[in-house]
């Protein structure tokens, strides 16, 4: 359940660890820093704004640091930092009742930790949820602790009959987020957007 920041060059600020977060550079062959893509994060954030998303719930993990910072710095966005991702289901439901569009930012392990809320609230009560899920533990993953979650993310999404799509290139970010939001609103159900390594991580 812990979302680890590892490595030696984590910068701290009032937002916590942000920017140029280094992931396990001790075992990287050339000891070359890798970082979360600011360009992609901005594209995703702008796409959410274009969908009139006004509330974001989030629990930090490495790939989400820029997105969370962008939300924190935006006076028009309500950012709710969670203790556990499942809270975000209730918060998004409250926002939906209030007529406020929302999205959840979480790691796939956070999605796994939210399943009862998704089933017993979002599905039972037909609540639209736009879930942006960082897809850790897939091809290219260096952190051993992420790998089991990577194996089961898609099977669990399918078992829950949650429609999902990947964000894997900057060209399609805006359209796919808009399409996901459209389906969430029309079907009144959770939809998943899997943020992939190709999009979120820059070598």
């Amino acid at each position: 359940m812990l979302r680890h920041y590892t490595g030696t060059r984590i910068k701290s600020s009032r937002y916590g660890a942000i920017a140029n977060v280094v992931e396990r550079d001790d075992i990287r062959p050339e000891n070359k820093p890798m970082s979360v893509s600011l360009t992609s994060s901005k594209l995703i954030y702008d796409a959410l704004k274009d969908c009139d998303i006004r509330l974001l719930s989030a629990l930090p993990e490495t790939w989400l640091v820029h997105l969370i910072r962008l939300a924190d710095e935006d006076p028009d966005t309500i950012l709710v930092r969670l203790a556990k991702e499942e809270e975000g289901v209730g918060i998004s439901a409250g926002a939906h009742f209030a007529g406020v569009k929302s999205a959840m930012l979480m790691q796939n392990h956070g999605f796994l930790a939210s399943i009862n809320g998704i089933v017993s609230f979002a599905h039972l009560y037909k609540i639209p949820l736009l879930m942006l899920i960082s897809y850790r533990g897939s091809f290219g993953e260096r952190d051993p602790w992420q790998t089991q979650g990577g194996n089961v993310t898609e099977p669990v999404l399918r078992a829950l009959r949650i429609p999902y799509f990947f964000l894997d290139g900057i060209e399609t970010v805006k359209k796919r987020i808009r399409d996901a939001q459209t389906l969430a609103e029309s079907s009144l159900q959770p939809v998943g957007i899997l943020l992939t390594r190709d999009l979120m991580w820059e070598e």
């Binding site: 203790a83 499942e86 809270e87 918060i91 409250g94 009742f97 007529g99 009862n116 809320g117 039972l124």
Partner: protein, 193 residues
Amino acid sequence: MLRLDCLRSVYSELEDYLVVTIMGAVSAELQSLGHRPNFFYLLHAMGLASSTGLGLALCLPNQRVIVFDGDGSLLMNLGSLSTMARYRPKNLTHVVFDNESLLSVGGFPTATSTGTDLEGIARSAGIPRVVTVRDVENFRSEVCGAPQRNELTTIVAKVAATGPSGYVTDLSVLENRFQFQRYVQSSKRIRIE
């Protein structure tokens, strides 16, 4: 102290609130007093009633919101206290009916029966005002005083582990959900105009 008496003592005040309840006895007893369109009953997803109230309160800062939580539900989502305390919406009142029991599944004792102190946990989480009440008069006084105090408050109400004989009512979850949403959004429109 009976939960039903607590609910009855503030029922007329609830007209001005968005009300979110947990499942089981709390939902059934509030409905037994008379359902209203501003009442939302979360009949599953234990722990998320307080999160729902937080979402409502943050999105509608001019609207008073009250959550009727329970010890069993809150113990499933203690982190919610820290999240509520972090944003501390002034318009949110969080009532926890603590009967030291998971009543609706057969009355199994919760950890509050062996000393876990929800008031202490809520206070240490950073909730600005936390009180424990043991009689209906103090319960009513705390709930009715909330709008004037205007700060995030958790009220731990120690109640007897008794409830109605059944928990299913003739209000379907979806009917309740859409009626509540329609109420929230129509009341919002009225306020803005």
